[in-house]
């Protein structure tokens, strides 16, 4: 069995998407923690264009960008499919993956901003949640239907980290009364065993992002 390695960072949402995909498909892999303040020569060799994690290395060949890695995993290991088999349904799934990726910055910026900038982040993330709930999720339990798929994985990472940020800035956006279906989706998503067992320690996350928030805000003064 050719070897699979995943280079990641414990507090970044992107490698978790890959971890979830690998675990759902029962693929064994070696996880390598990267220090992003001191990037390893290997990381720079594997991802010269972006110099970022995650990088999946399969039989020595690197693949970069979390959602591209997942499409690769899906094609290489078709068990427990994460994409529908119908081309139109696949196109819809890819559309939503792209949509949440494009809108993600507003979610990340919640913990990095205050005042007007934060208000904008709240407004933008709220608008995105509305579109995702009404047009993406609809009446389904998961974006993938009865079981989680590629869109659940893509957005699940964003939503989970957003939950941590909401706690830090003490503002709740993804609330049950405002987004009943999406809120229920998040609860269900985080109950899926593979997801539940593969999330970073919440206290560590709160600690880490609180520190980063302070650094971010003092840097911008």
């Amino acid at each position: 069995m050719a070897e699979v390695k995943l280079h990641g960072r414990w507090y970044s949402p992107f490698p978790y998407r890959v971890i979830w995909a690998l675990k759902l498909k029962g693929i064994s892999y070696e996880y390598i923690e990267e220090d992003l303040s001191n990037k390893s020569p290997l990381l720079l060799q594997y991802n010269p264009v972006h110099k970022k994690i995650p990088v999946l290395v399969h039989s020595g060949k690197p693949i970069c960008e979390s959602m591209i890695i997942i499409e690769y995993i899906e094609e290489k290991w078709p068990q427990t499919p994460l994409l529908p088999s119908d081309p139109y349904e696949r196109a819809k799934a890819r559309f939503w993956v792209k949509f949440v990726e494009e809108k993600a910055p507003a979610f990340w910026s919640l913990y990095r901003s205050t005042g007007e900038e934060q208000k904008k982040a709240l407004k933008d993330s709220s608008e995105t949640l509305k579109i995702v709930e009404e047009q993406g999720l609809g009446e389904k339990k998961f974006f993938g239907g009865d079981s989680i798929g590629i869109v659940d994985i893509a957005f699940g990472a964003i939503a989970h980290w957003f939950g941590v940020f909401e706690e830090i800035v003490e503002v709740k956006v993804l609330e049950a009364h405002a987004f009943p279906r999406l809120h229920a989706w998040k609860v269900n998503f985080e109950e899926v065993p593979v997801i539940k067992e593969n999330l970073p320690d919440r206290d560590k996350m709160l600690d880490h992002f609180k520190k980063r928030r302070i650094e971010s805000l003092s840097a911008s003064q």
């Binding site: 264009v49 693949i63 591209i68 690769y72 290489k76 081309p87 196109a91 890819r94 792209k98």
Partner: protein, 231 residues
């Protein structure tokens, strides 16, 4: 397949629309091209792409597909009797998706901002774009393996993603008075660009640079007044 089973909503000047057209041409698919009027959005567009209200939208039967690269992959998956647009090798597909994402997420956004930028910011953008072209030149050398295209003998996913942006690259060079695609620095890409534009699937849908220049001037003028129509 009957012509009216496949419709494409688009505008002639959009590189993203061009991607869909090239792909349909590669697969010899007959389709009806429904040109949107710049500055207004048809009911059909608003219905078929309620999230973004943008072109291109491919309508196959009654099913709308949005986002240019999603459309290209859809076309590749549905019309399997034509030449493949994405490689059949899984690793190569990942590489192709990587470069298409790089072009859309990093390279093209930097390039489009050159004309509106000034001073240091402008120089930084130019540098980014030129560095990007150096990376793409290297990628071209690696993946073309001496053939005409990133996809080898035939146009593939990266060719379509990148080649569709050539028109606007030329507009930026002309109106921005800056050399981006330089024969001395990226000879492979210069030759590739010629081959791409001459390809049968591309020729009929690549807008003339002069027309794009006129269109761009119109857009810039409008931007100083009302918000521009979004492509």
């Amino acid at each position: 397949m009957a012509k009216n089973d496949v419709k494409l909503l688009g505008v002639w000047a959009s590189p993203f629309v061009m991607r869909a057209r090239i792909s349909l041409n590669i697969k010899s698919v007959n389709y009806e091209f429904l040109e949107e009027t710049v500055g207004s959005k048809s009911e059909l567009l608003l219905q078929s792409n309620p999230v973004h209200k943008k072109v291109p939208v491919l309508i196959h039967g009654d099913k709308p597909i949005c986002e240019s690269l999603v459309i290209v992959q859809y076309i590749d998956e549905v019309w399997t009797s034509g030449p493949s647009i994405l490689s059949t090798d899984h690793y190569d597909r990942a590489i192709q998706r990587f470069w298409a994402a790089y072009l859309d997420d990093k390279w093209f956004p930097a390039m489009r901002r050159i004309r509106g930028a000034q001073g240091e910011e402008r120089q930084e953008l130019v540098d980014q774009v030129v560095e990007g072209l150096a990376l793409l030149e290297e990628a071209f050398g690696k993946y073309s393996k001496g053939k005409a295209f990133f996809g080898g003998d035939q146009i593939g996913f990266i060719d379509i993603a990148f080649g569709s942006l050539l028109g606007w690259l030329r507009v930026t060079e002309k109106l921005g008075e800056v050399k981006l695609l330089d024969e001395a620095k990226t000879p492979g890409l210069v030759k590739w660009a010629e081959s791409f534009c001459a390809d049968a699937a591309v020729k009929s849908v690549m807008p003339e640079t002069e027309k794009l220049i006129e269109f761009s001037k119109l857009l810039m003028a409008k931007m100083k007044g009302a918000p521009p129509p979004k492509n």
